[in-house]
């Protein structure tokens, strides 16, 4: 039995927070093969539900809740003159408690073959009814767990196992432990706040393909890639004037621009050193090329904000540099490390490139998802290149209004209107289709190469990278 808590922040009064991915990560991390995950809300205004994560349906649910327990119906619970032991900040939330009666506070999910048993359209939601707040779900996992393997291949040959993820976390912790506090503390805060660790996973998986698999060297490279990725985020957040990332203040917001620049530089340098110390010329060169592509694309990205929202070609050019370059380099460098054949290295590089573009498209869609846990419309406010906005601006029906709004100053009202226009158009559908098409193309790149049983895991990662809303 493993017990823990799922912690997250909500951002709206009523919000369907999709926690499927969080739960899935916990299952993978635990090594649970066959068993159950029990979830329990620790709040009287937070429910649980299993349903479809479709934005319009989630709005239907919200309207249903409003009809069944209107916010302004008058609740005895809110009559503070008649209540005892109320706190000074007692919320007016009788409606939220009544709405919670419509949900369950408990859920048990089945796990088979190390994966949650969910139907194609099923997602697990924590339903916020009185937000925004910090929320917790109690979680217990019981059943048959996979034994840890000293080889780092605990889930059978060729798969990315919980021990691999543990190796990355241990290596990251080890690296941060020896760094000076003024740089290590902000970076640790950023990395502990989450992150999907997709790039290091790709490194580790690809490093199992060739004849010279070395789990420790792969973990070292994977950790360096993750540090490099986070170093770019620290500078990006300063450039984008972002105040929060992964639910926490950015380094620039919390500690100032000067510190953010120093932290980014430190981990940029440290990552390149760790990569150089591995001593594989192909790996060093691949990662250096990727870093250069990222920086060049970031300059293009900012330059294109003058022509916001831009066009499809510009979008692809920027995204291939900003996001896909590191995905491609992660795949290729892992394979190079294991001395995989050149055709395999190049196929994996193309796989990573396509996956990276698809990942960014899915990330763009999250900006329009009220259940993502991120503030809706952030990309619009920051004038960040975003494919749904590009498609909405091209749309015959909503395009003229979208373009007019984006050309002006963007306050809350305008951002809300643009979000509504994008959501009402077929832009999100188009982006979703395009992202899935890219994943299909990425998967096809794997068909002609020998992957030592890794194909299902790589395909699974690719599919899950675009099938997300949180």
């Amino acid at each position: 039995m493993i017990a823990g808590r799922l912690r997250f922040e909500t951002s709206h009064a009523t919000e369907f927070v999709d926690v499927t991915k969080l739960v899935r990560q916990e299952v993978h991390r635990s090594g649970l093969r066959t068993g159950r995950v029990h979830l329990q809300s620790l709040h009287t205004t937070l429910g649980l539900a299993i349903n479809e994560n479709e934005p319009l349906l989630l709005r239907d649910f919200q309207r249903l809740l409003e009809r069944l327990a209107p916010g302004d119906a008058g609740y005895e619970h809110d009559d503070f003159a008649r209540r005892f032991e109320i706190t000074i900040d007692e919320p007016v939330n009788g409606h939220a408690h009544c709405r919670q009666l419509l949900f369950t506070g408990f859920a048990t999910l089945l796990v088979e073959e190390g994966e949650l048993v969910l139907g194609r359209w099923q997602s697990v939601f924590a339903v916020e009814l009185d937000g925004p707040r910090h929320r917790e779900l109690a979680m217990q996992l019981d059943g048959d767990f996979e034994p840890l393997s000293p080889t780092g291949r605990g889930r059978g040959s060729g798969a990315w196992a919980s021990t691999d993820s543990e190796l990355i976390e241990i290596e990251l912790a080890r690296q941060l432990m020896v760094d000076p506090d003024p740089v290590a503390v902000p970076m640790r805060r950023l990395m502990e706040a989450g992150g999907k660790r997709l790039r290091p996973k790709l490194v580790q998986l690809a490093s199992q393909i060739g004849p010279r698999h070395d789990a420790l060297r792969a973990a070292s490279l994977a950790a360096a890639v993750e540090l490099l990725h986070n170093a770019t985020l620290v500078h990006d957040d300063y450039v984008d004037e972002s105040t929060h990332r992964r639910g926490r203040p950015t380094v620039a917001a919390a500690e100032g621009a000067e510190r953010a620049i120093a932290v980014g530089d430190y981990y940029f340098a440290k990552a390149t050193r760790l990569i150089a110390e591995i001593g594989n010329i192909g790996v060093t060169s691949t990662m250096a090329d990727a870093l250069e592509a990222i920086c060049a694309a970031q300059i293009d990205d900012v330059a294109l904000r003058g022509a916001f929202p831009g066009d499809h070609d510009s979008y692809l050019r920027v995204v291939r540099g900003k996001t896909a370059a590191l995905f491609a380099a992660s795949c290729a460098s892992g394979a190079l490390l294991s001395e995989a054949p050149l055709d395999v290295v190049e196929a994996l590089r193309r796989f990573g490139d396509l996956l990276g573009v698809a990942f960014q498209m899915a990330d763009d869609m999250v900006d329009f998802s009220p259940s993502s846990g991120k503030p809706v419309g952030l990309d619009i406010r920051q004038k960040v290149l975003s494919l749904p906005l590009i498609y909405a601006a091209e749309d015959r029906s909503v395009g003229p209004e979208v373009r007019r709004l984006l050309a002006g100053s963007l306050g809350d009202e305008e951002v809300g209107r643009v979000t509504a226009l994008v959501t009402s158009s077929d832009a999100l559908q188009r982006v979703g289709d395009e992202a899935r098409g890219l994943v299909d193309a990425a998967v096809r790149e794997l068909e002609s190469i020998e992957l030592d049983g890794l194909r299902p895991t790589l395909v699974g990662i690719a599919r899950s990278a675009v099938d997300r809303t949180a």
């Binding site: 760094d179 000076p180 003024p182 740089v183 500078h235 300063y238 450039v239 004037e241 100032g256 621009a257 000067e258 510190r259 953010a260 620049i261 120093a262 932290v263 980014g264 530089d265 430190y266 940029f268 340098a269 440290k270 390149t272 050193r273 150089a276 110390e277 001593g279 010329i281 060093t284 060169s285 990662m287 250096a288 090329d289 870093l291 250069e292 990222i294 920086c295 060049a296 970031q298 300059i299 900012v302």
Partner: protein, 127 residues
């Protein structure tokens, strides 16, 4: 030294070259005169890009505006690639450690050695 060999390496940095990067580059050429002739310009440019990049970013001083920071980032990334393609492992590691030291000092608000002095020392220590 023939600057044409650096054409590819100056892509997007032509403006900086005119604004002083070329002088910084020349100042490092002498430092690398003991290296293989074909890599001397690449190593000198890498060092110059690190010096100019850090200055552009405002590391250890006032933070640069966003667009200037990004140009500084590109300088560091280009330098990193030049080193990856042309320097020994020892030089790559030593340069990275130099930037780590400068960044850590900046984050701590402590003074550090002048960048050029530090980078020249890196070359001499790894000769």
């Amino acid at each position: 030294m023939n600057v044409q060999v650096l054409d590819r390496e100056l892509d997007r940095l032509e403006g900086l070259w005119e604004q002083g990067l070329s002088d910084t580059y020349r100042s490092y050429l002498e430092t690398v005169s003991d290296r293989e002739p074909e890599v001397q310009p690449k190593l000198a440019l890498a060092a110059a890009l690190i010096e100019v990049g850090i200055r552009l970013q405002g590391l250890g001083g006032h933070a640069a505006p966003a667009t200037t920071l990004l140009m500084g980032d590109l300088c560091l990334a280009r330098a990193s690639r030049l080193l990856a393609d042309n320097a020994t492992q020892a030089v790559q590691v030593a340069f990275a450690k130099a930037i780590e030291g400068l960044s850590a000092a900046a984050a701590s608000g402590k003074p550090s050695r002048p960048v050029r002095e530090l980078l020249v020392h890196v070359f001499s220590a790894t000769a």
